[in-house]
Symmetry: C2
Subunit: 299 residues, 2 copies
Protein backbone atom coordinates (compact mmCIF):
# COMPACT_ATOMS: atom_id res chain seq x y z
CA UNK A 1 0.00 0.00 0.00
CA UNK A 2 1.13 3.54 -0.73
CA UNK A 3 -0.49 6.97 -0.97
CA UNK A 4 0.41 10.16 -2.78
CA UNK A 5 -1.18 13.60 -2.97
CA UNK A 6 0.21 16.69 -4.72
CA UNK A 7 -1.01 20.27 -4.90
CA UNK A 8 -0.41 23.12 -7.32
CA UNK A 9 -1.64 25.99 -5.18
CA UNK A 10 -4.84 27.50 -3.85
CA UNK A 11 -6.75 30.57 -4.93
CA UNK A 12 -9.33 31.81 -7.38
CA UNK A 13 -8.49 29.64 -10.36
CA UNK A 14 -9.95 30.78 -13.68
CA UNK A 15 -9.30 27.68 -15.78
CA UNK A 16 -8.60 24.71 -13.52
CA UNK A 17 -8.74 22.36 -16.52
CA UNK A 18 -5.55 23.94 -17.85
CA UNK A 19 -3.57 22.40 -14.99
CA UNK A 20 -5.07 18.92 -15.08
CA UNK A 21 -2.76 17.39 -17.72
CA UNK A 22 0.30 18.49 -15.73
CA UNK A 23 -1.11 17.29 -12.43
CA UNK A 24 -2.08 13.94 -13.98
CA UNK A 25 1.33 13.42 -15.55
CA UNK A 26 3.14 14.27 -12.33
CA UNK A 27 0.99 12.23 -9.97
CA UNK A 28 1.24 9.27 -12.39
CA UNK A 29 5.04 9.52 -12.37
CA UNK A 30 4.96 9.57 -8.58
CA UNK A 31 2.71 6.50 -8.58
CA UNK A 32 5.19 4.63 -10.79
CA UNK A 33 8.10 5.45 -8.49
CA UNK A 34 6.13 4.24 -5.49
CA UNK A 35 5.28 1.01 -7.36
CA UNK A 36 9.04 0.58 -7.89
CA UNK A 37 9.49 0.82 -4.13
CA UNK A 38 11.00 4.32 -4.00
CA UNK A 39 10.98 6.04 -0.62
CA UNK A 40 8.59 8.78 0.47
CA UNK A 41 11.37 11.41 0.46
CA UNK A 42 12.47 10.40 -3.04
CA UNK A 43 8.92 10.61 -4.39
CA UNK A 44 7.99 13.95 -2.81
CA UNK A 45 11.26 15.38 -4.14
CA UNK A 46 10.60 14.05 -7.64
CA UNK A 47 6.99 15.22 -7.79
CA UNK A 48 7.81 18.69 -6.48
CA UNK A 49 10.75 18.99 -8.88
CA UNK A 50 8.37 18.22 -11.78
CA UNK A 51 5.98 20.89 -10.50
CA UNK A 52 8.95 23.26 -10.33
CA UNK A 53 9.91 22.43 -13.94
CA UNK A 54 6.39 23.14 -15.18
CA UNK A 55 6.04 26.89 -15.93
CA UNK A 56 2.32 26.80 -15.10
CA UNK A 57 3.06 26.62 -11.39
CA UNK A 58 4.57 29.23 -9.08
CA UNK A 59 7.74 27.35 -8.13
CA UNK A 60 11.09 26.97 -9.89
CA UNK A 61 10.52 27.78 -13.59
CA UNK A 62 7.54 30.11 -13.92
CA UNK A 63 7.86 31.51 -10.41
CA UNK A 64 6.36 34.92 -9.77
CA UNK A 65 8.77 37.85 -9.92
CA UNK A 66 10.17 40.03 -7.18
CA UNK A 67 10.02 43.83 -7.31
CA UNK A 68 13.39 43.82 -9.11
CA UNK A 69 12.29 41.22 -11.70
CA UNK A 70 14.09 38.29 -10.18
CA UNK A 71 13.01 34.83 -9.17
CA UNK A 72 13.70 33.98 -5.51
CA UNK A 73 12.64 30.51 -4.44
CA UNK A 74 11.86 28.89 -1.10
CA UNK A 75 11.49 25.15 -0.52
CA UNK A 76 11.56 22.55 2.23
CA UNK A 77 11.32 18.83 2.81
CA UNK A 78 10.78 16.66 5.87
CA UNK A 79 11.21 12.94 6.41
CA UNK A 80 8.59 11.61 8.83
CA UNK A 81 10.65 8.54 9.72
CA UNK A 82 13.41 10.43 11.55
CA UNK A 83 12.17 14.05 11.58
CA UNK A 84 15.10 15.05 9.39
CA UNK A 85 14.46 18.22 7.44
CA UNK A 86 16.02 20.49 4.86
CA UNK A 87 14.99 23.97 3.79
CA UNK A 88 16.18 26.85 1.64
CA UNK A 89 14.94 30.42 1.20
CA UNK A 90 15.75 33.33 -1.08
CA UNK A 91 17.56 31.13 -3.60
CA UNK A 92 18.08 32.17 -7.25
CA UNK A 93 19.40 30.20 -10.20
CA UNK A 94 18.98 26.72 -8.72
CA UNK A 95 16.81 24.75 -11.17
CA UNK A 96 15.11 22.69 -8.47
CA UNK A 97 14.96 24.31 -5.04
CA UNK A 98 13.38 21.14 -3.59
CA UNK A 99 16.45 19.13 -4.64
CA UNK A 100 18.58 21.69 -2.83
CA UNK A 101 16.40 21.29 0.29
CA UNK A 102 16.87 17.51 0.00
CA UNK A 103 20.65 17.97 -0.34
CA UNK A 104 20.70 20.21 2.75
CA UNK A 105 18.83 17.47 4.62
CA UNK A 106 21.03 14.62 3.44
CA UNK A 107 24.47 16.19 2.96
CA UNK A 108 24.83 18.90 5.60
CA UNK A 109 24.75 19.26 9.35
CA UNK A 110 22.28 22.13 8.86
CA UNK A 111 18.54 22.30 8.28
CA UNK A 112 18.00 25.78 6.86
CA UNK A 113 20.21 27.69 4.43
CA UNK A 114 19.39 31.06 2.86
CA UNK A 115 20.41 33.34 0.00
CA UNK A 116 23.88 33.39 -1.51
CA UNK A 117 25.15 30.93 1.09
CA UNK A 118 22.56 28.36 0.04
CA UNK A 119 23.53 28.92 -3.62
CA UNK A 120 27.19 28.39 -2.74
CA UNK A 121 26.22 25.12 -1.02
CA UNK A 122 24.25 24.13 -4.15
CA UNK A 123 27.32 24.72 -6.37
CA UNK A 124 29.50 22.70 -4.03
CA UNK A 125 27.08 19.79 -4.37
CA UNK A 126 26.77 20.16 -8.14
CA UNK A 127 23.10 21.03 -8.25
CA UNK A 128 21.87 22.18 -11.64
CA UNK A 129 21.79 25.95 -12.24
CA UNK A 130 19.85 27.72 -14.97
CA UNK A 131 20.06 31.27 -16.35
CA UNK A 132 17.43 33.91 -15.50
CA UNK A 133 15.69 33.42 -18.87
CA UNK A 134 14.83 29.87 -17.89
CA UNK A 135 12.87 30.95 -14.82
CA UNK A 136 11.17 34.09 -16.10
CA UNK A 137 8.04 33.66 -18.21
CA UNK A 138 6.11 36.26 -20.23
CA UNK A 139 2.99 35.82 -18.11
CA UNK A 140 4.93 36.52 -14.90
CA UNK A 141 6.46 39.68 -16.39
CA UNK A 142 2.95 40.84 -17.31
CA UNK A 143 1.71 39.99 -13.81
CA UNK A 144 4.52 41.99 -12.21
CA UNK A 145 3.80 44.97 -14.47
CA UNK A 146 0.17 44.91 -13.38
CA UNK A 147 1.13 44.62 -9.74
CA UNK A 148 3.47 47.59 -10.09
CA UNK A 149 0.75 49.63 -11.75
CA UNK A 150 -1.65 48.73 -8.97
CA UNK A 151 1.17 49.67 -6.54
CA UNK A 152 0.85 46.59 -4.46
CA UNK A 153 2.26 43.25 -3.52
CA UNK A 154 0.09 40.69 -5.27
CA UNK A 155 -0.53 37.40 -3.59
CA UNK A 156 1.09 34.38 -5.07
CA UNK A 157 -2.01 32.51 -6.13
CA UNK A 158 -4.75 35.02 -6.70
CA UNK A 159 -5.91 38.39 -5.62
CA UNK A 160 -8.21 37.18 -2.92
CA UNK A 161 -9.11 40.61 -1.64
CA UNK A 162 -10.74 41.50 -4.94
CA UNK A 163 -12.45 38.43 -6.26
CA UNK A 164 -13.05 40.31 -9.50
CA UNK A 165 -9.49 39.58 -10.39
CA UNK A 166 -9.88 36.10 -11.80
CA UNK A 167 -6.50 35.75 -13.41
CA UNK A 168 -4.61 32.54 -13.00
CA UNK A 169 -2.23 33.32 -10.15
CA UNK A 170 -1.29 30.13 -8.49
CA UNK A 171 0.77 29.66 -5.38
CA UNK A 172 2.93 27.09 -3.79
CA UNK A 173 3.33 23.51 -4.93
CA UNK A 174 3.72 20.49 -2.70
CA UNK A 175 3.62 16.72 -2.33
CA UNK A 176 2.86 14.35 0.53
CA UNK A 177 3.57 10.62 0.41
CA UNK A 178 3.22 7.47 2.47
CA UNK A 179 5.50 4.90 0.85
CA UNK A 180 5.16 1.11 0.83
CA UNK A 181 7.26 0.94 4.02
CA UNK A 182 4.69 3.13 5.76
CA UNK A 183 7.03 6.11 5.94
CA UNK A 184 5.69 9.63 5.52
CA UNK A 185 7.34 12.62 3.85
CA UNK A 186 6.30 16.02 2.58
CA UNK A 187 7.85 18.76 0.45
CA UNK A 188 6.80 22.27 -0.52
CA UNK A 189 8.22 24.81 -3.00
CA UNK A 190 7.32 28.31 -4.12
CA UNK A 191 8.37 31.48 -5.88
CA UNK A 192 6.52 33.44 -3.21
CA UNK A 193 4.46 36.53 -3.91
CA UNK A 194 4.47 38.88 -6.89
CA UNK A 195 6.39 42.12 -6.49
CA UNK A 196 7.91 40.95 -3.20
CA UNK A 197 10.70 42.99 -1.60
CA UNK A 198 13.04 42.99 1.36
CA UNK A 199 13.94 39.30 1.13
CA UNK A 200 10.43 38.28 2.11
CA UNK A 201 10.10 34.60 2.98
CA UNK A 202 6.76 32.82 3.39
CA UNK A 203 5.80 29.52 5.00
CA UNK A 204 7.07 27.18 2.28
CA UNK A 205 10.57 26.96 3.71
CA UNK A 206 9.46 26.86 7.34
CA UNK A 207 9.32 23.44 8.98
CA UNK A 208 6.11 23.38 11.00
CA UNK A 209 4.47 26.13 8.93
CA UNK A 210 4.44 25.07 5.24
CA UNK A 211 5.85 21.56 5.63
CA UNK A 212 5.76 18.92 8.35
CA UNK A 213 6.12 15.14 8.47
CA UNK A 214 6.15 12.80 11.44
CA UNK A 215 5.42 9.07 11.12
CA UNK A 216 3.65 9.13 14.47
CA UNK A 217 1.23 11.88 13.35
CA UNK A 218 0.94 12.89 9.68
CA UNK A 219 2.68 14.59 6.77
CA UNK A 220 1.39 17.96 5.58
CA UNK A 221 2.11 20.50 2.82
CA UNK A 222 0.43 23.91 2.82
CA UNK A 223 -0.38 26.66 0.32
CA UNK A 224 -1.81 30.08 0.99
CA UNK A 225 -0.89 33.41 2.55
CA UNK A 226 2.56 32.53 3.90
CA UNK A 227 2.50 35.08 6.71
CA UNK A 228 -0.71 33.66 8.13
CA UNK A 229 0.55 30.09 7.86
CA UNK A 230 3.72 30.99 9.78
CA UNK A 231 1.74 32.71 12.55
CA UNK A 232 -0.59 29.69 12.81
CA UNK A 233 2.32 27.15 12.73
CA UNK A 234 -0.06 25.51 10.30
CA UNK A 235 1.50 22.22 9.17
CA UNK A 236 2.41 21.29 12.75
CA UNK A 237 -1.08 22.17 14.00
CA UNK A 238 -2.76 20.09 11.28
CA UNK A 239 -0.54 17.09 12.11
CA UNK A 240 -1.25 17.55 15.83
CA UNK A 241 -5.01 17.39 15.20
CA UNK A 242 -4.64 13.87 13.74
CA UNK A 243 -3.85 12.62 17.24
CA UNK A 244 -7.54 12.63 18.00
CA UNK A 245 -9.29 13.24 14.69
CA UNK A 246 -9.55 11.56 11.30
CA UNK A 247 -7.32 13.03 8.60
CA UNK A 248 -10.30 14.74 6.98
CA UNK A 249 -11.50 16.24 10.26
CA UNK A 250 -7.97 17.31 11.19
CA UNK A 251 -7.43 19.04 7.83
CA UNK A 252 -10.73 20.87 8.14
CA UNK A 253 -10.14 21.82 11.76
CA UNK A 254 -6.70 23.17 10.85
CA UNK A 255 -8.18 25.43 8.15
CA UNK A 256 -10.85 26.51 10.63
CA UNK A 257 -8.09 27.34 13.14
CA UNK A 258 -6.23 29.28 10.43
CA UNK A 259 -9.32 31.33 9.68
CA UNK A 260 -10.28 31.98 13.29
CA UNK A 261 -6.83 32.60 14.76
CA UNK A 262 -5.19 34.75 12.08
CA UNK A 263 -8.00 35.37 9.56
CA UNK A 264 -6.01 33.19 7.19
CA UNK A 265 -6.70 31.89 3.71
CA UNK A 266 -5.28 28.87 1.95
CA UNK A 267 -5.27 25.11 1.81
CA UNK A 268 -3.36 22.00 2.75
CA UNK A 269 -2.89 18.39 1.76
CA UNK A 270 -2.08 15.63 4.22
CA UNK A 271 -1.68 11.90 4.82
CA UNK A 272 -2.05 10.63 8.37
CA UNK A 273 -0.15 7.78 10.04
CA UNK A 274 -2.84 5.31 8.93
CA UNK A 275 -2.44 6.31 5.29
CA UNK A 276 -5.62 8.35 5.05
CA UNK A 277 -5.42 11.14 2.47
CA UNK A 278 -7.12 14.47 3.15
CA UNK A 279 -7.18 18.04 2.00
CA UNK A 280 -8.97 21.23 3.03
CA UNK A 281 -9.06 24.85 1.89
CA UNK A 282 -11.05 28.03 2.39
CA UNK A 283 -10.00 29.66 -0.90
CA UNK A 284 -12.27 29.43 -3.96
CA UNK A 285 -10.18 26.56 -5.27
CA UNK A 286 -7.31 24.15 -4.65
CA UNK A 287 -5.44 22.33 -7.42
CA UNK A 288 -4.63 18.81 -6.35
CA UNK A 289 -4.33 15.23 -7.50
CA UNK A 290 -3.86 11.96 -5.68
CA UNK A 291 -2.89 8.36 -6.27
CA UNK A 292 -2.61 5.01 -4.58
CA UNK A 293 -1.55 1.60 -5.91
CA UNK A 294 -4.87 1.21 -7.75
CA UNK A 295 -5.89 4.62 -9.01
CA UNK A 296 -5.06 8.18 -9.99
CA UNK A 297 -7.54 10.98 -9.32
CA UNK A 298 -7.36 14.55 -10.60
CA UNK A 299 -9.56 17.24 -9.08
CA UNK B 1 0.42 41.01 38.28
CA UNK B 2 3.16 40.50 35.70
CA UNK B 3 5.88 37.93 35.01
CA UNK B 4 9.20 38.08 33.20
CA UNK B 5 11.89 35.52 32.44
CA UNK B 6 15.02 36.02 30.34
CA UNK B 7 17.74 33.62 29.22
CA UNK B 8 21.30 34.08 28.04
CA UNK B 9 21.88 30.67 26.47
CA UNK B 10 22.40 27.06 27.43
CA UNK B 11 25.54 24.97 27.46
CA UNK B 12 28.55 24.05 29.54
CA UNK B 13 29.13 27.34 31.30
CA UNK B 14 32.52 27.73 32.95
CA UNK B 15 31.88 30.83 35.04
CA UNK B 16 28.15 31.39 35.40
CA UNK B 17 28.77 34.15 37.98
CA UNK B 18 30.31 36.29 35.26
CA UNK B 19 26.89 36.71 33.63
CA UNK B 20 24.85 37.39 36.76
CA UNK B 21 25.37 41.18 36.97
CA UNK B 22 24.20 41.57 33.35
CA UNK B 23 21.22 39.29 33.82
CA UNK B 24 20.25 41.09 37.04
CA UNK B 25 20.52 44.53 35.45
CA UNK B 26 18.45 43.50 32.43
CA UNK B 27 15.71 41.65 34.29
CA UNK B 28 15.44 44.60 36.72
CA UNK B 29 15.02 47.01 33.81
CA UNK B 30 12.30 44.75 32.42
CA UNK B 31 10.59 44.68 35.81
CA UNK B 32 10.57 48.51 35.91
CA UNK B 33 9.00 48.74 32.48
CA UNK B 34 6.31 46.28 33.47
CA UNK B 35 5.64 48.30 36.63
CA UNK B 36 5.15 51.31 34.36
CA UNK B 37 2.52 49.34 32.48
CA UNK B 38 4.52 48.63 29.32
CA UNK B 39 3.22 45.86 27.08
CA UNK B 40 4.65 42.35 26.83
CA UNK B 41 5.96 42.97 23.30
CA UNK B 42 7.66 46.21 24.40
CA UNK B 43 9.34 44.51 27.35
CA UNK B 44 10.58 41.41 25.53
CA UNK B 45 11.99 43.69 22.82
CA UNK B 46 13.73 45.88 25.37
CA UNK B 47 15.21 42.99 27.39
CA UNK B 48 16.45 41.17 24.30
CA UNK B 49 17.93 44.38 22.90
CA UNK B 50 19.91 44.82 26.16
CA UNK B 51 21.14 41.24 25.89
CA UNK B 52 22.13 42.00 22.28
CA UNK B 53 24.04 45.11 23.42
CA UNK B 54 25.97 43.13 26.03
CA UNK B 55 29.08 41.58 24.43
CA UNK B 56 28.98 38.64 26.86
CA UNK B 57 26.06 37.08 25.04
CA UNK B 58 25.90 35.54 21.57
CA UNK B 59 23.45 38.00 20.00
CA UNK B 60 23.96 41.45 18.45
CA UNK B 61 27.29 42.80 19.78
CA UNK B 62 29.55 39.91 20.73
CA UNK B 63 27.89 37.45 18.37
CA UNK B 64 29.93 34.47 17.27
CA UNK B 65 31.62 34.79 13.89
CA UNK B 66 30.88 33.14 10.57
CA UNK B 67 33.56 31.33 8.55
CA UNK B 68 34.34 34.63 6.78
CA UNK B 69 34.64 36.60 10.05
CA UNK B 70 31.32 38.30 9.86
CA UNK B 71 28.41 38.63 12.26
CA UNK B 72 25.09 37.38 10.87
CA UNK B 73 22.15 37.67 13.22
CA UNK B 74 18.75 35.99 13.46
CA UNK B 75 15.88 37.16 15.67
CA UNK B 76 12.13 36.86 16.08
CA UNK B 77 9.26 38.11 18.17
CA UNK B 78 5.66 37.00 18.66
CA UNK B 79 2.70 38.72 20.29
CA UNK B 80 0.47 36.20 22.06
CA UNK B 81 -2.56 38.49 21.99
CA UNK B 82 -3.06 38.41 18.21
CA UNK B 83 -0.44 35.87 17.02
CA UNK B 84 1.36 38.62 15.14
CA UNK B 85 4.99 37.83 14.51
CA UNK B 86 8.15 39.31 13.04
CA UNK B 87 11.42 37.59 12.19
CA UNK B 88 14.73 38.29 10.46
CA UNK B 89 17.63 36.02 9.47
CA UNK B 90 21.11 36.51 8.08
CA UNK B 91 21.18 40.21 8.98
CA UNK B 92 24.45 42.16 9.36
CA UNK B 93 25.06 45.67 10.67
CA UNK B 94 21.73 46.18 12.42
CA UNK B 95 22.52 47.06 16.04
CA UNK B 96 19.44 45.33 17.45
CA UNK B 97 18.06 42.49 15.34
CA UNK B 98 15.13 42.09 17.76
CA UNK B 99 14.06 45.69 17.08
CA UNK B 100 14.14 44.88 13.38
CA UNK B 101 11.95 41.81 14.02
CA UNK B 102 9.54 44.07 15.96
CA UNK B 103 9.51 46.57 13.09
CA UNK B 104 8.77 43.78 10.59
CA UNK B 105 5.87 42.72 12.81
CA UNK B 106 4.48 46.21 13.30
CA UNK B 107 5.33 48.06 10.10
CA UNK B 108 5.18 45.52 7.28
CA UNK B 109 2.71 43.15 5.72
CA UNK B 110 5.36 40.43 6.04
CA UNK B 111 6.48 38.17 8.89
CA UNK B 112 9.92 36.98 7.80
CA UNK B 113 12.64 38.97 6.01
CA UNK B 114 16.16 37.74 5.26
CA UNK B 115 19.60 39.01 4.29
CA UNK B 116 20.21 42.17 2.30
CA UNK B 117 16.46 42.67 1.82
CA UNK B 118 15.91 42.75 5.57
CA UNK B 119 18.79 45.25 5.93
CA UNK B 120 17.23 47.45 3.24
CA UNK B 121 13.95 47.34 5.18
CA UNK B 122 15.86 48.29 8.35
CA UNK B 123 17.38 51.33 6.61
CA UNK B 124 13.99 52.40 5.31
CA UNK B 125 12.68 52.35 8.88
CA UNK B 126 15.71 54.15 10.30
CA UNK B 127 16.93 51.34 12.52
CA UNK B 128 20.35 51.91 14.02
CA UNK B 129 23.32 50.43 12.14
CA UNK B 130 26.79 49.87 13.55
CA UNK B 131 30.14 49.15 11.87
CA UNK B 132 31.70 45.65 11.95
CA UNK B 133 34.11 46.65 14.76
CA UNK B 134 31.14 47.20 17.07
CA UNK B 135 29.92 43.61 16.71
CA UNK B 136 33.23 41.73 16.61
CA UNK B 137 34.96 41.05 19.93
CA UNK B 138 38.45 39.69 20.61
CA UNK B 139 37.11 36.59 22.33
CA UNK B 140 34.94 35.72 19.31
CA UNK B 141 37.94 36.12 16.96
CA UNK B 142 39.90 33.76 19.19
CA UNK B 143 36.98 31.30 19.27
CA UNK B 144 36.73 31.33 15.47
CA UNK B 145 40.47 30.76 15.12
CA UNK B 146 40.20 27.72 17.39
CA UNK B 147 37.22 26.41 15.48
CA UNK B 148 39.11 26.77 12.22
CA UNK B 149 42.10 24.97 13.65
CA UNK B 150 39.86 22.17 14.85
CA UNK B 151 38.29 22.21 11.37
CA UNK B 152 34.77 22.25 12.59
CA UNK B 153 31.64 24.22 13.12
CA UNK B 154 31.51 24.95 16.82
CA UNK B 155 28.19 25.12 18.55
CA UNK B 156 27.00 28.46 19.68
CA UNK B 157 26.99 27.82 23.39
CA UNK B 158 29.49 25.13 24.16
CA UNK B 159 31.16 22.13 22.69
CA UNK B 160 28.70 19.65 24.03
CA UNK B 161 30.20 16.66 22.27
CA UNK B 162 33.44 17.05 24.20
CA UNK B 163 32.60 18.13 27.69
CA UNK B 164 36.30 18.69 28.25
CA UNK B 165 35.93 21.93 26.40
CA UNK B 166 34.69 24.15 29.20
CA UNK B 167 35.12 27.47 27.52
CA UNK B 168 32.36 29.99 27.83
CA UNK B 169 30.46 29.61 24.59
CA UNK B 170 26.96 30.80 25.12
CA UNK B 171 24.08 30.64 22.69
CA UNK B 172 20.89 32.39 21.99
CA UNK B 173 19.25 35.02 24.20
CA UNK B 174 15.54 35.41 24.82
CA UNK B 175 12.77 36.91 26.93
CA UNK B 176 9.23 35.86 27.76
CA UNK B 177 6.70 38.15 29.43
CA UNK B 178 3.15 38.21 30.73
CA UNK B 179 2.25 41.88 31.16
CA UNK B 180 -0.22 43.44 33.59
CA UNK B 181 -2.97 43.08 30.97
CA UNK B 182 -2.38 39.33 30.92
CA UNK B 183 -0.87 39.39 27.43
CA UNK B 184 2.00 37.09 26.55
CA UNK B 185 4.96 37.76 24.25
CA UNK B 186 8.32 36.19 23.53
CA UNK B 187 11.45 37.18 21.63
CA UNK B 188 14.68 35.39 20.74
CA UNK B 189 17.96 36.57 19.18
CA UNK B 190 21.26 34.96 18.24
CA UNK B 191 24.49 35.20 16.31
CA UNK B 192 24.15 31.50 15.52
CA UNK B 193 27.04 29.06 15.51
CA UNK B 194 30.77 29.70 15.27
CA UNK B 195 32.37 29.23 11.86
CA UNK B 196 28.97 28.91 10.18
CA UNK B 197 28.74 28.89 6.40
CA UNK B 198 26.23 28.75 3.57
CA UNK B 199 23.78 31.22 5.11
CA UNK B 200 22.93 28.78 7.89
CA UNK B 201 19.88 29.79 9.94
CA UNK B 202 18.90 28.16 13.22
CA UNK B 203 15.68 28.14 15.21
CA UNK B 204 15.90 31.65 16.67
CA UNK B 205 14.16 33.28 13.71
CA UNK B 206 11.64 30.50 13.21
CA UNK B 207 8.18 31.05 14.66
CA UNK B 208 7.15 27.76 16.28
CA UNK B 209 10.77 26.58 16.67
CA UNK B 210 12.75 29.18 18.68
CA UNK B 211 9.90 31.54 19.51
CA UNK B 212 6.16 31.15 20.09
CA UNK B 213 3.49 33.10 21.95
CA UNK B 214 -0.24 32.51 22.16
CA UNK B 215 -2.40 33.94 24.97
CA UNK B 216 -4.51 30.80 24.96
CA UNK B 217 -1.48 28.53 25.55
CA UNK B 218 1.91 29.98 26.55
CA UNK B 219 4.89 32.03 25.42
CA UNK B 220 8.21 30.28 24.85
CA UNK B 221 11.81 31.16 23.91
CA UNK B 222 14.35 28.42 23.18
CA UNK B 223 18.12 28.04 23.12
CA UNK B 224 20.15 25.09 21.93
CA UNK B 225 21.09 23.25 18.77
CA UNK B 226 19.00 25.18 16.26
CA UNK B 227 18.68 22.34 13.79
CA UNK B 228 17.20 20.03 16.40
CA UNK B 229 14.80 22.71 17.63
CA UNK B 230 13.52 23.30 14.09
CA UNK B 231 12.97 19.57 13.49
CA UNK B 232 11.12 19.28 16.82
CA UNK B 233 9.02 22.46 16.21
CA UNK B 234 10.06 23.02 19.79
CA UNK B 235 8.44 26.28 20.97
CA UNK B 236 5.07 25.25 19.51
CA UNK B 237 5.29 21.80 21.07
CA UNK B 238 6.15 23.22 24.51
CA UNK B 239 3.19 25.62 24.31
CA UNK B 240 0.91 22.78 23.17
CA UNK B 241 1.85 20.71 26.23
CA UNK B 242 0.49 23.45 28.54
CA UNK B 243 -3.01 22.54 27.36
CA UNK B 244 -2.98 19.62 29.75
CA UNK B 245 0.11 20.08 31.92
CA UNK B 246 1.47 22.65 34.34
CA UNK B 247 4.08 25.01 32.90
CA UNK B 248 6.86 23.14 34.68
CA UNK B 249 5.67 19.73 33.47
CA UNK B 250 5.16 21.07 29.95
CA UNK B 251 8.67 22.56 29.81
CA UNK B 252 10.19 19.30 31.04
CA UNK B 253 8.09 17.17 28.71
CA UNK B 254 9.14 19.38 25.77
CA UNK B 255 12.84 18.87 26.55
CA UNK B 256 12.18 15.15 26.93
CA UNK B 257 10.47 15.16 23.51
CA UNK B 258 13.45 17.06 22.05
CA UNK B 259 15.85 14.46 23.39
CA UNK B 260 13.78 11.44 22.35
CA UNK B 261 12.62 12.61 18.95
CA UNK B 262 15.76 14.25 17.53
CA UNK B 263 18.44 13.52 20.16
CA UNK B 264 18.37 17.24 20.88
CA UNK B 265 20.15 19.40 23.42
CA UNK B 266 19.18 22.78 24.79
CA UNK B 267 16.77 24.63 27.00
CA UNK B 268 13.71 26.82 27.04
CA UNK B 269 11.93 29.40 29.17
CA UNK B 270 8.17 29.83 29.23
CA UNK B 271 5.18 31.49 30.86
CA UNK B 272 1.81 29.79 30.53
CA UNK B 273 -1.62 31.44 30.16
CA UNK B 274 -2.04 31.44 33.96
CA UNK B 275 1.21 33.35 34.47
CA UNK B 276 3.25 30.39 35.68
CA UNK B 277 6.95 30.70 34.90
CA UNK B 278 8.95 27.62 33.96
CA UNK B 279 12.20 26.55 32.39
CA UNK B 280 13.86 23.26 31.46
CA UNK B 281 17.13 22.17 29.88
CA UNK B 282 19.20 19.06 29.28
CA UNK B 283 22.52 20.89 28.83
CA UNK B 284 24.94 21.23 31.75
CA UNK B 285 23.63 24.73 32.40
CA UNK B 286 21.13 27.43 31.45
CA UNK B 287 21.63 31.13 32.20
CA UNK B 288 18.36 32.72 33.22
CA UNK B 289 16.75 35.26 35.51
CA UNK B 290 13.18 36.06 36.36
CA UNK B 291 11.05 38.74 37.94
CA UNK B 292 7.52 39.52 39.02
CA UNK B 293 6.04 42.59 40.72
CA UNK B 294 7.64 41.63 44.04
CA UNK B 295 10.99 40.05 43.31
CA UNK B 296 13.96 39.50 41.03
CA UNK B 297 15.74 36.15 40.98
CA UNK B 298 19.03 35.34 39.27
CA UNK B 299 20.09 31.72 38.74
Amino acid sequence: MFKLIIHGGAGAIKSPDEYKPSLEKIVTEGQKLLQQGKSATEVVTHCVSLLEDDPLFNAGRGSVLTADERVECDASIMNGENLQAGAVAGVSGVKNPVKLALTVMEKSEFVFLIGKGAEEFAKLHNLEFMPDEYFITESRLKQLKEAREAGKVVLDHSDLKSQKNDEKKLGTVGAVVMDSQGNLASATSTGGIVNKRFGRVGDSSIIGAGTYANNSLAAVSCTGYGEQFIRATMARVAAEFTKELSAKEAAEKAIEFLQKSVNGLGGLIMIDRFGNIAHAYNTPGLLYAQADEKSVKIF
